[in-house]
Amino acid sequence: MRSVWALAAMAALSVLTASTTTLAGEPKQGGVLRMYHRDSPANASILEGATYSVNVPFMGVFNNLVIYDQHIAQNSPDTLRPDLAESWSWSSDNKKLTFKLRQGVKWHDGKPFTSADVKCTFDLLMGKSQQKLRQNPRKAWYSEVNDVTPNGDFEVSFDLKRPQPSLLAMLASGYTPVYPCHVSPADMRTHPIGTGPFKFVEFKANESIKLTRNPDYWKKGLPYLDGIEYTIITNRSTAILAFVAGKFDMTFPTHITIPLLKDIKSQAPNAVCVVEPTNVSTNIIVNSTSPPFDNIDIRRAMAMALDRKAFVDILFEGQADIGGTMLPPPQGIWGMPKDKLATIPGYGPDVNASREEAKKLMQKAGYGPDKHLAVKISTRNIAEYRDPAVILIDQLKSIYIDGELDVVETANWFPKVARKDYMLGLNLTGNSVDDPDQSFYENYSCGSERNYTNYCNKEIEKLFDAQSQETDIGKRKPLVWDIDKKLQEDVARPIIFHARAGTCWQPYVKGVTIMSNSSYNGFRYEDVWLDK
């Protein structure tokens, strides 16, 4: 009897093993991944782009010096991997970062990749080269880089003004591909040449983007796909219906809102869907240079009146995150822990109590039930901006502020903000790498182009530099939390919530990982394959 059980157990085990093997499967070569694209990007040049609409289709054309592991959802210093650089090392004073470059790598046009290409790319980004990018939105990332120096054909060094460990994070972003020296920035906009797993075939504005397999890719055996085809569909309903009908293998990454996700799951129950934070915060920009928001009491009252949970419940059915400037944990690496967050005025669990405090501040400023403060709340004419703005108007009523929605076309939004032609604005801020340097310097440092509110605090700037130079992550985190807390208390740019969004793919699409703390870095797709 015992032997019968043993035999049965062995049989069961073998069946289980076999089925597991079948399920996991060996990657298969071939097939074209069909995806829809949410809009028609301005051009194909990632270095000039400032939206992931460019990164998603074109990241696979390129390589970086280093890259975040494409199969670990959370980007962190521990998930940095060599790419065109085989290895890297810091000098003892942490002011020189040296990369040993991979040999035998070829550009898609057959020319060899060398350290000169790295030098050209970063000279272009730092504005030092003869040729210029039409737009250079991330020039500030390299403000601490003195020079990039090739040491022979296959080694290159970044000389820094001061230690900046976060430089590696920025080099690993999907926004930092290495460009070839021999192709002009203008040509890179229309016909990008890279070293990556996919070669550019064509980009028809408002129609499609096509990539094909690079047979000479330096990672032997990759990519698995024969190509990727993006059909540009600007109408979200049409795009999702097409995915449900099987016209596409995958939706555009993080393009599915939480309510729409339900529709997809009901209409295509086999689809694999994941929801991840996008590291895009919805926040309020306050014009503190003119009345009435030059009064810190009114600014504080406004921040204390926010019921962040209500925003999250209404817009995301509870699936979004509340935090400070940095994306909250567990997906975010640098976000404040919950207990610290709760100590910031307006972040406590008792919204009514917070609003009572806010009312007192408003009354101190001369407003009350008989005298309301009338404000215009400006925002872009896009649903992601408009919808929270409407909720904000409703919430501000509770502290005697009567808001009026002022929707602004995209073309006029930034000039309006730059002119300070607004009182309150509802704004979205995307972070391409989950690192405090990118967020703090870009959005809160004195004189930064993206510091829309002109918040300027020299004391906090010193703290920015202190955290930026700290090489020990454990020591850097508390510094970052203190800065973040201070920014919220100063009402520099009150953060309402951090959004989440969904991505779906058909069950036969394998090897896709959606990054959980950035929407810009996970689209190489070199080992995505189709189990058909």
């Binding site: 028609s40 301005a42 051009n43 782009g49 400032a50 939206t51 210029k132 039409r134 737009q135 250079n136 939105p137 020039k139 203008a186 906009r189 229309t190 980009f203 028809k204 504005a205 408002n206 129609e207 499609s208 059909t231 540009i232 569909i233 600007t234 109408n235 309903s237 049409t238 219906l241 097409a242 449900v244 009908a245 099987g246 016209k247 209409q267 076309e409 995209t410 073309a411 006029n412 939004w413 930034f414 000039p415 730059a418 182009e449 993206r450």
Partner: protein, 315 residues
């Protein structure tokens, strides 16, 4: 006649000049240009980069100079380069025209082939259940926006057949090619068919009460002969006028239909170009449309004289 022809030609040129001025300056009145949009999308502005880009695109020049560069280029057939794609504007515009032309043609065909017969039936069967049913259909057609109808068609198609009739750039069979255009054409043509049907019905009702129709019946002509040979022939003129007007209005419906069915036609392209303030595309495309419309009017005016002997243009 010759003097009239010359005068008419001159008038046409003046009209086109006026249109070109209106197009050019209207576009500049709209706030923001391509450079503003590019920097707004990037969320920052570097004044030096902005100035360089404006210089590169020539939008820093005085408006008169910009107008002259554009219009002289247009007359030479040099449409310039798209600000967005940086490809020749003509190369961007030309491949999209046949797509929209096919769609518009099919929509008009759908409108006429459905609207006219149903309008005749509705008039002939006035006051019957069939007439009421057809009137409900026509009212629905007038009430349903074409983008909504398009989405309904797509949703129903996916729910019932698990098929998605959106644009297929490389149809393998004749049927696929037809389906690519037929479904969106039906969506955009339905409203037009409803209007055609209502006009046909009212026009037919008026004609059916005429003495010569009674005479025809008295002579023993069959219902079909009376309805189609005598009545419809005389009722069709206002219908043709309406179809002609509808053809001009079709472009509005095509914009949303091309968006919903993801058709890479010229209508959607024009809207995208306006959104980007892609002046070379918008100016040249609208000007091309204006040239076609003005030339068509001119030719029609000339043809009146050819086909209707009562019309003679005198000096």
């Amino acid at each position: 006649m010759f003097a009239y022809l010359v005068r008419r030609l001159l008038l046409m040129l003046v009209t086109l000049f006026g249109i070109s001025v209106v197009i050019f300056f209207l576009l500049r009145i709209v706030p923001g240009n391509i450079v503003d949009i590019l920097f707004a999308a990037a969320g920052y502005v570097d004044p030096a980069d902005k100035a360089n880009l404006e210089k590169e695109l020539g939008i820093d020049q005085p408006l008169i100079l910009q107008y002259w560069h554009w219009i002289s280029g247009f007359l030479r057939g040099d449409f310039g380069y798209s600000y967005v794609s940086e490809k020749p504007a003509l190369q961007e515009i030309l491949p999209r025209i046949p797509i929209t032309a096919r769609l518009a043609g099919l929509a008009l065909l759908f409108s006429a082939s459905i609207g006219i017969p149903l309008g005749v039936i509705s008039a002939v069967k006035q006051g019957t259940r069939l007439d009421y049913a057809l009137r409900v259909v026509s009212l629905s057609g007038l009430s349903l926006p074409s983008f909504w109808l398009g989405l309904l068609i797509l949703t129903a198609s996916v729910a019932m057949f698990n098929r998605m009739p959106i644009f297929n750039p490389n149809p393998q069979t004749w049927l696929e090619a037809f389906a690519t255009y037929a479904v969106p054409a039906a969506a955009v043509g339905f409203r037009s068919a409803a209007l055609t049907m209502r006009i046909t019905r009212s026009s037919m009702l008026e004609v059916l009460r005429q003495d010569y129709i009674r005479t025809a019946r008295a002579k023993g002509a069959s219902d079909a002969t009376v309805n189609y040979q005598h009545a419809l022939k005389n009722a069709i003129l206002p219908v043709i006028t309406v179809i002609g007007i509808e053809a001009a209005f079709l472009i509005g419906g095509l914009i949303v239909t091309e968006t919903v069915f993801n058709i890479p036609g010229v209508a959607r392209f024009l809207v995208e170009a306006i959104r980007w303030r892609d002046y070379p595309i918008v100016q040249n495309l609208v000007m091309l449309i204006a040239v076609v419309v003005v030339s068509a009017n001119f030719i029609v005016d000339m043809l009146y004289a050819v086909f209707d002997p009562r019309i003679r243009y005198t000096d």
